[in-house]
């Protein structure tokens, strides 16, 4: 049986709408633009100073000397701030038609009705739609855009902003700290469990756009929340930049799950800093799916500061033609009896390149710590490449550490077994790939698991023939 060659389907979210804005900064970045962003947002003086100090750091910081080639980013050719509407609305019908149409095509309003506690939708630089179930608001859950969070809960924002990811952490965290706009502010009070996920949706529409959202989540003692983010962009011939910062504080006994389904178009540089600080008996779980973008550098981190704190990263990366997925995780054990687990699965095909880059650090005070790292790679053809860079720095003498790595292709036996049962070869490849990523997909809410499987199947189309 000769399999039929199928042309890969186009990126489903590559459409774009006519650009609309109530304000658009000029291309490039200088202190005057930062001043203008801060003035337009009517920010307190401390935030303006924070931005300007961060800008000075950004100018001093060098580009990373390791990892993928980022020389293609033309920082002078990027719009750093674009305000698409007059403000945030809480009803979809109040959005401009073109923006509403975008989100309807992506399916966000429908998802909100079916299975979400709240939704935040960011278009270019600003959050244009925000909603949360009334029952959660009554319990004290605060879910706002970061800009509104700064206005309405300055006490919490000032206490925690920039404490988990300081501006000087790296060049892109400094850039984000200087020009951040949008993102989510989420506060979950003590012992409140948010049963259904909260979702943030990020969309870049304009060409040469930079999106720099900033998210701060504070989960107070004994609380639970699941936050999901998704992202898409149109396909342009020029590159866009997404450099977000996510800071999460998990207080004593709290649990936060942060799920990302990243599906940027293949002209987006996705350079994100995500980090959580976990107190005693707290649990932080990052579930990270990286399917899109031209180049992703993302290493969700957990700093385990309290006794019996736990961190987990489950990560899937797919790299097709021209894509680089440089993903991984960091676990810093600073307290006794802390545990961590990293499971990373990557698939590369058509010359794509995936890398796992991870760090487990256990300092001497972290007695009886334990960590398990597993990174598996599936390489689907001879043009693609997968690398693993695990780094472990164990300074405690009673830690239990395990690391496993595997690289393989789809075996002929697997394909023979499936095709001999009448399954077309292309479908068989998809089945094996979905089985490979199943340990991570099963951790997603059902709707996202279905979506991720569907995306992987779309990417696999044309893999045979």
């Amino acid at each position: 049986m000769k399999p039929k060659k199928i042309t890969p389907k186009a990126y489903a979210y590559g459409f774009h709408k006519e650009e609309q804005s109530v304000y658009k900064a000029q291309k490039g970045l200088n202190a005057a633009i930062i001043d203008e962003i801060s003035n337009r947002k009517k920010e307190p003086l401390w935030m303006k100073q924070f931005r300007l100090k961060s800008f000075a750091l950004y100018q001093k910081k060098q580009m990373p000397s390791w990892g993928p080639d980022l020389s293609g980013i033309d920082f002078a050719n990027i719009y750093y701030y674009l305000k698409p509407t007059g403000g945030t609305v809480s009803k979809w019908k109040n959005l401009p038609k073109s923006i509403l149409d975008t989100y309807e095509r992506i399916g966000v309003p429908e998802a909100e009705k079916k299975f979400l506690s709240g939704v935040s939708a960011q278009y270019e630089s600003e959050v244009v739609y925000k909603s949360i179930q009334k029952s959660l608001s009554k319990k004290g859950v605060v879910f706002l855009s970061m800009d509104d969070g700064l206005r309405k809960r300055p006490d919490i924002v000032k206490e925690y902003f920039g404490t988990v990811v300081p501006p000087g952490d790296n060049k892109f965290s400094a850039l984000n700290s200087a020009v951040w706009s949008g993102g989510s502010f989420l506060y979950v009070p003590k012992n409140v469990k948010v049963d259904l996920p909260l979702q943030a949706y990020f969309r870049i529409n304009a060409q040469n756009m930079g999106q720099f959202e900033r998210t701060l989540i504070v989960a107070d003692e004994g609380s639970f929340v699941h936050y999901v983010e998704g992202c898409t962009a149109p396909i342009y011939s020029t590159d866009s930049l997404h450099a977000a910062v996510v800071e999460i504080l998990v207080k004593k006994g709290a649990r936060v799950r942060y799920t990302t389904v990243q599906n940027w178009s293949t002209n987006v540089f996705n350079l994100v800093t995500k980090r959580a600080k976990v107190e005693e008996e707290g649990v932080m779980e990052w579930v990270d799916g990286n399917l899109g973008s031209k180049c992703t550098m993302k290493y969700p981190s957990v700093i385990l500061t309290g006794r019996k704190a736990r961190g987990e990263v489950l990560s899937i990366a797919y790299a097709g033609r021209g894509q680089i997925q440089d993903a991984g995780a960091k676990m810093i054990h600073m307290a006794p009896d802390t545990t961590s687990r990293i499971i990373s699965k990557s698939i590369c095909k058509d010359g794509g390149r995936t890398s796992y880059r991870g760090l487990v650090r256990i300092i001497p005070t972290a007695t009886h710590a334990s960590s398990h790292v597993q990174c598996d790679a599936l390489i689907l053809d001879g043009k693609s490449r997968s690398d693993t860079y695990p780094y472990m720095d164990i300074q405690s003498d009673d830690a239990s550490i395990a690391h496993e790595a595997a690289v393989s292709k789809i075996s002929d036996e697997q394909l023979f077994y499936l095709t001999s049962r009448g399954i077309p070869e292309e479908e068989a490849v998809s089945m094996v790939v979905n089985g490979f990523i199943e340990p991570i997909v099963k951790e997603l809410p059902l709707e996202y698991a279905v979506e991720l499987n569907r995306l992987i199947e779309l990417q696999m189309e044309g893999s045979v023939g």
Binding site: G382, D398, S400, A402, A406, S408
Partner: protein, 207 residues
């Protein structure tokens, strides 16, 4: 000692060992590294022919406060070749075990399968282990895995045994015995199996 398809290599000083396997040959290499002085050793097996299979089984027990630097190389030069390297280190006092595990899969080695695992048990707060897996894979149609673990005797094991009135030293001996047996039980030749096991027991008795 060399029997058909199995070779025992006792390393107690600086040493380089290499071997090649032609088409279809299967061989097990058993090495015991239990020196009383610091050493550097290299073990290399080259799978030159199609369907060649190598199994490397190793135990490292530094007997004093010394440094042991060991490297193994699994060199796949031909299609459908298989190599497995399982290594266990028992580290006490101020000893250091530094292990580098190389797997090289060449351009014409489609269908090859390589596995490497290094388990370490640390019986002292000053014992150190370094593991550096280095994998260079030049063909995509292969399977390659490596793993590393390091741990002391788990607290729950200690607690369980102590509640059964065993002393710390007794518990250590039982646990160490089981740790070593995981390797020795895989040795296909009974004579070499008993030889390696008894040597390990004699060493661990005095530690």
């Amino acid at each position: 000692m060399r029997l058909q398809n199995i070779e025992f290599i006792h390393i107690h000083e600086d040493q380089r060992y290499s071997d090649t396997l032609p088409e279809g040959e299967e061989k097990t290499y058993v090495f015991l590294v239990a020196p009383k002085q610091s050493l550097r050793a290299e073990i290399s097996v080259s799978l030159e022919g199609r369907n060649a299979k190598a199994q490397l089984l190793g135990i490292i027990i530094p007997q004093r406060n010394i440094e042991v630097h060991l490297s193994t190389t699994q060199l796949h030069k031909s299609p459908d070749s298989v190599s497995v390297c399982l290594l266990r280190s028992l580290v006490l006092n101020d000893s250091l075990v530094s292990y580098q595990g190389n797997i090289f899969i060449g351009k014409r080695s489609q269908g090859s399968d390589a596995f490497q695992h290094h388990d370490s048990m640390l019986l002292s707060g000053h014992a150190r282990v370094q593991t550096r897996p280095i994998l260079e894979i030049l063909h995509h149609a292969v399977s390659c895995k490596h793993g590393v673990s390091m741990h002391p005797i788990p607290d729950d094991v200690l607690w369980y045994a102590k509640t059964r009135l065993l002393h710390q030293k007794q518990i250590e001996r039982i646990y160490v015995d089981g740790f070593i047996r995981k390797i020795t039980d895989m040795i296909p030749d009974s004579h070499i199996r008993d030889l390696v096991y008894n040597q390990c027991r004699n060493i661990t008795k005095t530690l």
